[in-house]
C-alpha cells in the first residue's frame, strides 16, 4: 500500500521508455501527468472540503448542515458547482476588464503552484526542490497581488477597501510567517521539505518549536484570509470585499483558490511541525492527509467561533506581538542549538 503511487509512476515511466521515448521525455510526460492528477485531486478535495466546512459549521451551531443530496449531503457542493458553472458571467461595465478577468485565473494558478514542492508521502514530492520552503513562501505571497488585481479591476469601493486590507495584512504577516519557520530551518539546516520531514524522525518539531508553531498558525490564518482574519472578504463590513463584483465561475475560482491555499498551508504545517508523512502502521500518503485534515479542522473551528479582529488590531498583533515573539524564538533556538552542540549531543 505504501508504494502504490510510486509503483504507478515507475510503471508509467518504464512503459513510456519501452515505447521508445527518451527518458527525458518520459520524465516530462510523467510530470504533466502528476500535475494533472494534482489539479484533479485539488478540485475534488475542495468539493469535499467545502462540504466538510459547512458540515462542521452546522454541527457547531446545532444544525445539520447540508443533508439533502447524497448520503450526508456529500453531493451538495457538486450541485453548487454545477449551479455556479451555469450562471451568467457578469462583468460590470465600469471595470478594468482585462485585470478583472485574469485576477481569478492568476489566483488559482498561484494556489496550485504551491503543491509543486509539498511532499505528499515518502519520496512523493513532485519537484524535490532544495529551496522548497523558500519557494513555498515566495509563491504563497503572490496571491495578494491577485486579490489586489480583483479589487482594483472591480472598480468598486468595497472591493478596493478589501484589496488594500489584503495587501496590508499580507505584508505584515509574511514576516512572522517566515520568521516562525526559521527556527525549524535552523534545526534541520535545510530548506528542502523532504529533508525537514526526515529530520523529524525522532521527534516532531511541534514539541521542539511550540512557540513557532503558534506564531506560524496565527500568521497562516491571516495569510489564508480566513476568519478571524478574513479582512479582504469581511462579509459583514465590506459585503464581499474584493470579490463583491464577481459572479458565477469567476467567483467560484476565488473560492477554489482559497480552499486550495488552505490545504497547501495545512499540509505545510503538518510537514514542518507534525512530522509530515511519518507515522506508524498507515502508509505515508495517508498520514499526511490525516494530519492536513486535522489542521484544517482546527482552522474551521477557529473561524466559526471567533469574531473578526479589527484592521488596526490585526496590524499591531503582527508588528507588536508576533514579530518580536518569533524573533525571540529564533534567538532562543540558536542558543539552544549552540548549547546542544556544546554539550555534545
Amino acid at each position: 500500500m505504501e508504494n502504490w503511487f510510486l509503483n504507478i509512476a515507475h510503471w508509467l515511466t518504464s512503459w513510456l521508455v519501452s515505447l521508445g521515448l527518451a527518458p527525458v521525455w518520459a520524465d516530462l510526460i510523467l510530470l504533466v501527468v502528476q500535475w494533472t492528477i494534482i489539479v484533479g485531486i485539488i478540485t475534488l478535495n475542495v468539493l469535499i472540503l467545502i462540504w466538510l466546512e459547512r458540515k462542521v459549521a452546522g454541527f457547531m451551531q446545532e444544525r445539520l448542515g447540508p443533508n439533502r443530496l447524497g448520503p450526508f449531503g456529500i453531493f451538495q457542493t457538486i450541485a453548487d458547482t454545477l449551479k455556479l458553472l451555469t450562471k451568467e458571467d457578469i462583468i460590470p461595465s465600469q471595470t478594468d476588464r482585462l485585470i478583472f478577468k485574469v485576477a481569478p485565473m492568476f489566483f488559482i494558478i498561484v494556489a496550485v503552484m504551491l503543491y509543486a514542492v509539498l511532499p505528499m508521502g515518502q519520496d512523493m514530492a513532485v519537484v524535490n526542490l532544495n529551496v522548497g520552503l523558500f519557494y513555498f513562501i515566495s509563491v504563497g505571497s503572490l496571491s495578494t497581488i491577485c486579490i489586489l488585481m480583483a479589487g482594483w479591476g472591480s472598480n468598486n469601493k468595497w472591493s478596493l477597501l478589501g484589496a488594500m486590507r489584503s495587501v496590508a495584512q499580507m505584508i505584515s504577516y509574511e514576516i512572522p510567517l517566515a520568521f516562525s519557520l526559521l527556527g525549524v530551518v535552523m534545526i534541520t539546516g535545510s530548506l528542502n521539505l523532504s529533508d525537514i520531514v526526515q529530520a523529524q524522525h525522532n521527534i516532531w518539531f511541534i514539541l521542539l518549536q511550540p512557540v513557532a508553531f503558534v506564531t506560524f498558525f496565527i500568521a497562516a490564518t491571516a495569510e489564508l484570509n480566513r476568519g478571524p482574519f478574513d479582512m479582504p472578504e469581511a462579509e459583514q463590513e465590506l459585503t464581499a470585499g474584493a470579490y463583491t463584483e464577481y459572479t458565477g465561475m469567476r467567483w467560484a475560482l476565488f473560492f477554489l483558490a482559497e480552499y486550495t491555499n488552505l490545504v497547501a498551508v495545512s499540509a505545510l504545517a503538518s510537514t514542518l511541525f507534525l512530522g509530515g508523512w511519518q507515522g506508524p502502521f498507515l502508509p505515508s500518503w495517508l498520514w499526511i492527509i490525516l494530519k492536513t485534515y486535522l489542521i484544517m479542522l482546527v482552522f474551521m473551528w477557529l473561524k466559526w467561533t471567533f469574531p473578526r479582529i479589527r484592521m488596526d488590531h490585526l496590524m499591531s498583533l503582527s508588528w507588536k506581538v508576533l514579530i518580536p515573539i518569533s524573533l525571540v524564538n529564533i534567538v532562543l533556538t540558536g542558543a539552544g542549538i549552540e548549547l546542544f552542540r556544546w554539550m555534545g549531543w
Binding site: A57, M60, Q61, E62, R63, K157, W158, L161, R165, G227, P228, D230, A234, E235, Q236, E237, T239, W304, T305, F306, P307, R308, I309, R310, M311, D312, H313
Partner: protein
C-alpha cells in the same frame, strides 16, 4: 505632508449588517470614518396614517409590526394609551399576563441584539445560539396567542384569553435555564477578547450627549444614567416589582452589550415575581363594543420598550377612529446619535456602533 481625498461609501440600504433598510452614508478617509449621514425611510409604511383610517381596536396588529422583535411591547404601549384615553379598568390577572409577556418580549429582543452584534462582528455561531434560545420564547408566544412573531395578543382592556396551562411549566423551565444561557453568551460573545477589543472604547456616548439627543433605553443606561420608565414613571403594575437598573460607566459598545445582558437577567427576576403574585380571575375588562372617546381628548402614554421610551400620542375627534396617532419611536431617536459617536472611528467600528444602538427599522421608519 500627504493629503488624502475623502470618499463616501454607502453602508446600506442593501448591506449585510444594517438590520433592515438602514442607509448610512459614510464619509471616509481611508479606513477612518470622518462623518456619517443617516438616511431613513426605506421601510416607511405610513403606520401613523394607517392608524387614522382604522378603528382603535383595528390598529393593534399594526402596532405589533412597529418593533417586531419585541412584539408584545409596542402593542402593550398602544393598548394602554387607548385605555388611558377611554378610561378602562384592566383586570389584575391581565396586568400580570401583560408584564410576563412584555418582559419575555424584552428578553427576546435583547437576545436578538446579542446575537446580531456577534454576527455583525463576524462570529456567526453566537447568533445561532441566541436565536436557538429565543425560539423557546417564540414557542411560549405561540402557546399564548397562536402567533410567534407578530402576536397581537394585547387587547384594549386586557388580553385575548387567559394563558394556557402548558405555558407555566414552559416559562418556569425557561427561567431556570436562563442563567445557563447567559453564561454561554458571556463565554462565547461578551467574554471573547477579540470582541472586547472591538467594543471597548468604541462609539462612546457620554451621558450629557445621550440626554441632549434624547436617547433612551439601554443605550442611555449604558452611558451611566439610571433612567428606566418602569421605575421613573411606572405604568401598569410595574411599581409592585423589585428589580435593579443595570447601568454602564463609559457608554461604549461594550457597556451597551453588558447592560443588555444584565437586563435579560433582571427581566427574568420580574417574570418570576409576576408568576408568584399572579391572581386568578378575569383577563378582559368591560370595554364598550364601539370605542368612541370624547371629542378633542388627547393622551400621551409612554412605556419602556426593549429599545427605549416608546410613546403613543392619541388625539380623538369623537368618532371611532383616532384623529391623529403619533408614535415616539425610540429606535428613531437613538439612531440620531450615530453620526456623532461614529466619527473618528474605523469602518469596522461603525458596524459595531450600528449593531449596539440596536435600531429596528420598522419602528424608526414607521
Amino acid at each position: 505632508m500627504f493629503t488624502t481625498d475623502l470618499y463616501t461609501i454607502n453602508i446600506g440600504p442593501q448591506h449585510p449588517s444594517t438590520h433592515g433598510g438602514l442607509h448610512v452614508e459614510a464619509v471616509m478617509d481611508g479606513e477612518v470614518v470622518k462623518d456619517a449621514i443617516v438616511h431613513l425611510g426605506y421601510v416607511h409604511r405610513s403606520v401613523e396614517k394607517i392608524a387614522e383610517s382604522r378603528t382603535y381596536t383595528q390598529f393593534i396588529p399594526y402596532a405589533s409590526r412597529l418593533d417586531y422583535l419585541a412584539t408584545h411591547l409596542p402593542t402593550l404601549g398602544y393598548v394602554q394609551a387607548v385605555e388611558k384615553l377611554i378610561g378602562v379598568e384592566v383586570p389584575e390577572r391581565a396586568e400580570y399576563i401583560r408584564v410576563i409577556l412584555g418582559e419575555l418580549s424584552r428578553i427576546a429582543s435583547h437576545m436578538v441584539f446579542v446575537g446580531s452584534l456577534a454576527i455583525d462582528l463576524g462570529a456567526t455561531t453566537g447568533l445561532i445560539y441566541c436565536l436557538r434560545d429565543r425560539e423557546r420564547i417564540m414557542d411560549m408566544f405561540e402557546m399564548s396567542s397562536g402567533q410567534r412573531l407578530l402576536a397581537s395578543y394585547m387587547r384594549i382592556g386586557g388580553v385575548i384569553t387567559d394563558l394556557p396551562e402548558e405555558f407555566f411549566p414552559a416559562v418556569h423551565s425557561f427561567l431556570d435555564d436562563l442563567p445557563k444561557m447567559i453564561d454561554e453568551y458571556n463565554g462565547l460573545i461578551s467574554g471573547n477578547e477579540i470582541l472586547q477589543a472591538r467594543c471597548k472604547g468604541i462609539g462612546i456616548l457620554t451621558s450629557e450627549e445621550a440626554m441632549a439627543y434624547g436617547v433612551t433605553g439601554p443605550n442611555l443606561r449604558a452611558s451611566g444614567v439610571a433612567y428606566d420608565l418602569r421605575q421613573a414613571d411606572p405604568y401598569g403594575i410595574y411599581e409592585r416589582f423589585n428589580f435593579e437598573i443595570p447601568i454602564g460607566q463609559r457608554g461604549d459598545c461594550m457597556d451597551r452589550l453588558t447592560v443588555r445582558i444584565k437586563e435579560i437577567e433582571q427581566s427574568g427576576h420580574i417574570i418570576r415575581q409576576a408568576l408568584k403574585e399572579m391572581p386568578v380571575g378575569e383577563v378582559r375588562g368591560k370595554v364598550p363594543k364601539v370605542i368612541k372617546p370624547e371629542k378633542g381628548k388627547e393622551v400621551y402614554h409612554r412605556i419602556e420598550s426593549a429599545k427605549g421610551e416608546l410613546g403613543y400620542y392619541l388625539v380623538s375627534d369623537g368618532t371611532e377612529k383616532p384623529y391623529r396617532v403619533h408614535v415616539r419611536a425610540p429606535s428613531f431617536v437613538n439612531l440620531m446619535v450615530l453620526p456623532s459617536i461614529s466619527r473618528g472611528g474605523k469602518l469596522q467600528d461603525i458596524i459595531a456602533v450600528i449593531a449596539t444602538l440596536d435600531p429596528v427599522l420598522g419602528e424608526s421608519d414607521r
